[in-house]
């Protein structure tokens, strides 16, 4: 019997968790002698006070949506893909190779091609750990995290030895051709007469991310494959009894997961118009927190991504205007992850008691 109503499970618990995280963060800020109210004001003002702030929040959120969905699809099959970082890194390589390979005439052609390139490379990077899990029983947590390191090593080699233009000091690929330039939010909204700052790198990829959320929902809850993935995640033996091949589900789920992580590169690499070292910057790991917080549901992932986008952008504002060290901003993010992901039951159990009491009173 579900004691907690669905709406409370989806909204109330995360909200209370975030509130607790912010209260403890405020205490930490007080402890180092800074003003937590001003810090919160700066975060809110710096993010929602102008369109550039909103743009940066959406830019970061776009990355987190892709990696969050990547982790979420794997969660549905009870696979823990912590290799989003490496898969997104390889996705960046795929996007860069596609963008550099042809003098693209227009972004409408370049974007789908780059999306496919990034997704293929990301999927490839997830395929090897998936195969090892399915056929050899090597635990996917271990193999995916190891593949993160291999990915960064591959990138250093490729950028320093192969892709770097001769004589350049900067280990980065050449600039992508003009035709691979994605329209930014300022161009899109400007076309319909809404002014938006062109300082923020948020671009058409945000809408691709929203589309990915919708397709994710369709796949998981409206297709046969999605049903099989969920069935396998709920019980491997029951799924096997029902004629679902575990090998097939592990491979397909991880391919989708890797492709989603790799697809993130259309945002961070294609918008930057060149491939640099460490282009993912931890988004693969934040995706884990996003998926946990979003309960592996695309709408939850979207909301959690927006929250983390806000934390990154707001954190930058605190960094800019106060003496609060930037390590503390990481502490705040960590507290949010801790409360929403790891300490879920701490909120859930008292809340269940409250709902039980209410129900008894009604009865």
């Amino acid at each position: 019997m579900d004691v907690i109503p669905k709406w409370a499970d989806a909204i109330l618990i995360p909200l209370i968790s975030i509130l607790l995280a912010f209260i403890i963060s405020a205490l930490v800020i007080l402890a180092i002698g800074e003003d937590p109210v001003r810090a919160l004001q700066l975060m809110v003002q710096g993010t929602f006070g102008n369109s550039a702030g909103i743009g940066f929040m959406l830019f970061y959120a776009t990355n987190f949506i892709f990696t969050g969905l990547a982790v979420a699809i794997a969660f549905h099959a009870r696979l823990f893909n912590i290799g989003g970082e490496g898969q997104a890194t390889l996705g960046g390589l795929g996007v860069a190779l596609v963008c550099l390979s042809l003098p693209w005439p227009h972004w409408t052609l370049a974007l789908p091609a780059a999306l496919i390139g990034g997704a293929l490379f990301g999927a490839f990077w997830a395929l090897i750990p998936a195969y090892l899990q399915a056929k050899r029983g090597s635990h996917i947590v271990i193999t995916t995290i190891m593949f993160n390191f291999i990915a960064s090593a591959v990138m250093v080699y490729l950028l320093v030895e192969v892709l770097k233009p001769a004589g350049s000091m900067d280990p980065a690929s050449p600039r992508f051709p003009e035709g691979a330039h994605l329209p930014r939010m300022s161009d899109i909204l400007g076309a319909v007469g809404i002014p938006f700052s062109d300082a923020a790198p948020v671009n058409v990829s945000f809408f691709v991310a929203l589309l990915a959320c919708y397709l994710f929902w369709l796949l998981v809850w409206r297709t046969r494959l999605g049903y099989e993935i969920r069935a396998y995640g709920q019980s491997e033996s029951a799924a096997r009894y029902a004629g679902i091949s575990p090998t097939r589900i592990i491979l397909i789920t991880m391919l989708i997961s890797g492709a989603l992580a790799g697809a993130m590169a259309i945002n961070n690499v294609m918008a930057a118009e060149r491939l640099v070292l460490n282009s993912v910057e931890g988004a693969g790991f934040i995706g884990i927190a996003v998926a946990l917080m979003g309960r592996s549901h695309p709408f939850g992932v979207l909301l959690a991504s927006l929250l983390f986008g806000f934390l990154v952008q707001g954190g930058a504002e605190i960094d800019f205007w106060t003496n609060i060290p930037r390590e503390l901003i990481v502490v705040i993010q960590a507290l949010v992850i801790l409360f929403t992901g790891a300490l879920d039951n701490m909120v859930r159990m008292p809340l269940a008691k409250v709902f039980l009491m209410l129900r008894k009173r009604e009865g």
């Binding site: 004001q41 003002q45 250093v156 004589g167 000091m169 300082a199 640099v276 070292l277 460490n278 800019f320």
Partner: protein, 333 residues
């Protein structure tokens, strides 16, 4: 309602802050952090020196993500800071994008020399020349005939350091064995003293008795492991001789502090656009000699290095730059 009021209040406070900031200089650190005991910290020291001497203040900001580079540089320019010093070659694309949008703001960038923007001063360092000198010292101090190099990431800038070092060591002893290792493949490599220490122990077991660290904060671990293992080490960027007196052979000085100090001191009026190369001739790079290492540097060593320094300045010795053709005559990567 009260929230909107406070939000407006803080916006007003920001506006006042921005107004007060007019003509204050600003410093934007590169990834790796302000207190890396190395590149960024040298810049910080220069800015601090300026602030202490003039009693004025400056704005500073640490970049923590790629997307923030342009964001922060734009914010600094918009808030009216002038001049703005930007650190690191990875910000070349940043100033390329931001500087032309703010033609009245003076920008300076360290470690970049190939841009062409009228309101930009580019300051590059001849690290290979300084590394050549410490390479000579390493070879002269080495008894085993093996010297080590520990870099941060395997990127061109660090190969540039290693290449000068190997050339210097081989100029003293053509048969010397130069062992080079890189710490890692992610930016964590610039701040991983534990790994630096492990690599140092590895190089000691390969026979190295002098180790040169060009790895940002990782170098602290290299110097520590070298001191523990009773071999000599060479610091980088800032003078790190004091960290382990009598154990640090010398430090390859890269006077980023002087560069930042000069830009701040010259201010908007004394701003000089164009490219400035800081080499041995204008003490932009060099080796550190102070009370902590004077017992380690003999008179013959000092004479040999000072002679080489004069010859490099005069052009009699040519230290090949790794950038010249993406390869090094003295070391394979």
């Amino acid at each position: 309602m009260s929230f909107i009021k406070t939000a407006l209040g803080s916006a007003a406070a920001l506006a006042v802050l921005a107004g007060a900031a007019l003509a204050e200089p600003a410093l934007m650190y590169d990834l790796g952090g302000k207190f890396d005991k190395s590149f960024n910290e040298a810049a910080y020291n220069g800015a601090q020196r300026w602030a202490e001497e003039t009693g004025e203040s400056y704005q500073e900001i640490e970049v923590t993500a790629e997307a923030q580079r342009v964001q922060f540089a734009t914010r600094l320019a918009e808030a009216g800071y002038n001049p703005i010093v930007v650190l690191g070659f990875q910000n070349a694309a940043t100033v390329e994008e931001v500087a032309p949008k703010y033609p009245d703001t003076k920008f300076a960038i360290i470690d970049v020399s190939w841009l062409d923007i009228p309101n930009l001063q580019q300051i590059s360092f001849a690290e290979h020349e300084g590394s050549y000198l410490v390479g000579m010292l390493a070879a002269m101090a080495s008894k085993s005939g093996t010297v080590g190099f520990i870099g941060g990431m395997d990127v061109p800038l660090i190969r540039h350091f290693a290449c000068g070092y190997a050339q210097g060591a081989k100029a003293v002893n053509p048969d010397i064995n130069v062992v080079a290792n890189m710490t890692g493949t992610t930016p964590a490599a610039w701040n991983d003293p534990v790994k630096g220490g492990e690599l140092t122990k590895g190089q000691i077991s390969q026979g190295a008795d002098v180790v040169y660290a060009a790895a940002g904060g990782t170098g602290v671990g290299v110097l520590q492991a070298a001191a523990d293992g009773n071999i000599l080490s060479i610091g980088v960027d800032s003078n790190q001789n004091y960290l382990h007196p009598g154990k640090v052979l010398t430090s390859m000085l890269k006077r980023v502090d002087n560069a930042v100090y000069d830009v701040f001191k010259n201010g908007v009026d004394g701003f000089e656009p164009g490219v400035m190369t800081m080499g041995l001739d204008n003490d932009g790079v060099g080796y550190a000699l102070d009370e902590y290492n004077e017992a380690l540097i003999t008179d013959e060593m000092k004479a040999a290095v000072d002679d080489a320094k004069a010859k490099i300045i005069a052009g009699d010795i040519e230290v090949v730059s790794y950038y010249a053709n993406d390869s090094c005559p003295a070391l394979d990567f």
